[in-house]
Symmetry: C2
Subunit: 346 residues, 2 copies
């Protein structure tokens, strides 16, 4: 199936939800949402239950028009000053919802559009449940990430610099066809006591003894993957080994709770409780949805009321961080299915 049909179906589905929600119009400005609905990430879209208009700069009008045939669900018009306002007026729209990308400029849109505005996560919620087309791309992306993280493990040799390993691993990910090097700031690789720093960035210094945290991903057709392994570098202490085993086992038991109908916040709380019993604090969320964004819905924090559904793709990534000592994290990307979640990076 080509992506022409796919963006057509996504737009129709969104229009149906818009109608169900009793909304007149949705303004889509987040570039991932625009990509989701068009296959390109330029412009803004106004979706109503009956129509969808893509406003793009003149250069992009030609590019979009030639991209798809009749499968393209949007009317493409030039994005000029006042164009969106004019369209809303012509259609008699008196209230418009903004997506996450537009919501930041809420006050500005309130002035500019001349209609009532509110915020809606309709696109983000639709994106949380993946189609077969999306799952296929995520699987390809996960395969590259899986191979890359083990390649990283093979490159950990005494005297090597962190950034040399990163250079080779990112090049490997690229040569396999990844559209981005992995994450916004590149892959994470932290050795020695720096493994306890969640914000550590690799540098031009030699690898240090102890657990080495390697966190990376790939991107295929716009779709991300996310995997973390903690490798032992040099002789590990009994304590280090014990924590590494503990985190790996906790990830497995937390992932086992990811079933349709389960509440994401409850699974986070289970992991937090297990960590507490073992004497650790949990310093981040258990995981996150993965798709066009590396972090998207569903939310896997302790407060999340998001309910798992088949087709959601998430990470499960417990970690233990002991400042001045070491850190350990174990992460895979999972597809929520009717029964057991499928580990896509195993």
């Amino acid at each position: 199936m080509g992506s022409g049909k796919e963006v057509f179906r996504r737009t129709r589905k969104l229009q149906a939800s818009l109608e169900d929600a009793g909304e007149q119009a949705l303004l889509v400005g987040n570039r991932r949402n625009v990509f989701y609905l068009t296959g390109k990430d330029a412009g803004r879209i106004v979706v109503t239950p009956d129509e969808s208009v893509l406003f793009v700069r003149p250069l992009y009008r030609q590019l979009y028009s030639s991209l798809y045939g009749r499968g393209f669900p949007h009317r493409v018009v030039d994005f000029e000053e006042g164009a969106i306002k004019g369209f809303l007026k012509k259609e008699g729209v008196r209230k418009v919802c903004l997506d996450s990308g537009s919501a930041g400029a809420l006050a500005d849109y309130r002035k500019r559009l001349g209609v009532r505005v509110s915020v809606s996560d309709l696109v983000e919620r639709q994106r949380a449940v993946k189609s077969d087309f999306e799952v296929d791309l995520i699987k390809k992306s996960c395969r590259i990430a899986h191979d890359a993280v083990y390649f990283a493990g093979c490159l950990l040799k005494p005297g090597k610099k962190e950034l040399d390993v990163v250079a080779d691993v990112e090049a490997f990910i690229r040569r396999r066809g990844s559209e981005t090097p992995s994450f916004d700031d590149g892959m994470l690789l932290a050795s020695g006591r720096r493994s306890a720093d969640i914000h550590a960035r690799p540098g031009l210094f030699p690898l240090l003894r102890g657990p080495v945290v390697v966190d990376l991903g790939a991107k295929i057709g716009g779709y991300n993957s996310d995997v973390t392994r903690t490798f032992g570098f040099g002789r590990l202490t009994a304590r280090e080994k014990e924590v590494m085993d503990f985190v790996r086992e906790l990830q497995q038991s937390a992932a086992d709770l990811v079933r349709p109908g389960a509440v994401a916040g409850d699974v986070h709380k289970f992991a937090e409780e297990e960590l507490k019993k073992a004497g650790f604090m949990f310093h981040h969320n258990l995981g996150h949805g993965v798709g066009l964004d590396i972090h998207e819905l569903p939310n896997l924090s302790g407060k999340s009321e998001d309910v798992f559904k088949p087709g959601m793709v998430i990470t499960v990534e417990p970690g233990v961080y002991l400042p001045r000592h070491f850190g350990v994290r174990h992460e895979d990307t999972f597809l929520v299915t009717k029964s057991k979640p499928k580990n896509l990076t195993a």
Copy 2:
């Protein structure tokens, strides 16, 4: 000079501007702004004319405390539910400004903080003018970007795939010590008619004849660089050569207008006018500030009223894009000085 003294000086300068602006407090949530004021990018800061408090998760309290000695300008406290609200109340603050990172959640902060909130770009405007410490880092970053873009030019051989070239160039940038692969989505490399697509991403297909646009950067100590070259691949047409010469010359003449006191919008308009005379449309801004963000103040759009000052670091990057044919862009990173701007990527 270590970065302890530097973050101290930056914070004092911000406190002075806050006092000049007659503001009681500034809430800093943008992670680049937090990095600018602390040297790390975790947490939120509340700055008042007399004090500065950094709210971080417990894991980070230890990390920050050990990072600097007495040069650290912030009191570090645990970032717990209601902590910021409690601090504002205790200090008798009735109105707080939010920086760009916090402004997106304006409505939410309005509810949560229990005080009046507004938006301020005080930090962003301070960041637009670089200290010597910052210029040194940007120069290092520019040197890597300069070398990398010419390395890319050397790798353009018939039959090579776009992503193979990207893999080698990004690895080169990493091995030289860059903390990120270049941009959020990695470097841009577009050949053939895809060079006319500003949003083109490199792929697993062979390089095509014609102008090849290569746009990349490095990051050192948090500071970015940005450079674009258009290389001829295979035999160029007379038209292609003519456009390449035109864009290169236009960049030079636009850069010549970047003097202290000049208005950024006027320089953009000059370039737009020159392009129009030659029969082209300008499809993006003439450039942008470069620093901790790849795009920051000053703004070089046609509407910008930002005035150039010595110490600003900007790009000048005119381009011509002819859909279905080819595109050309020429970009360097410049330091605004008292006289002629200094090209840091030449």
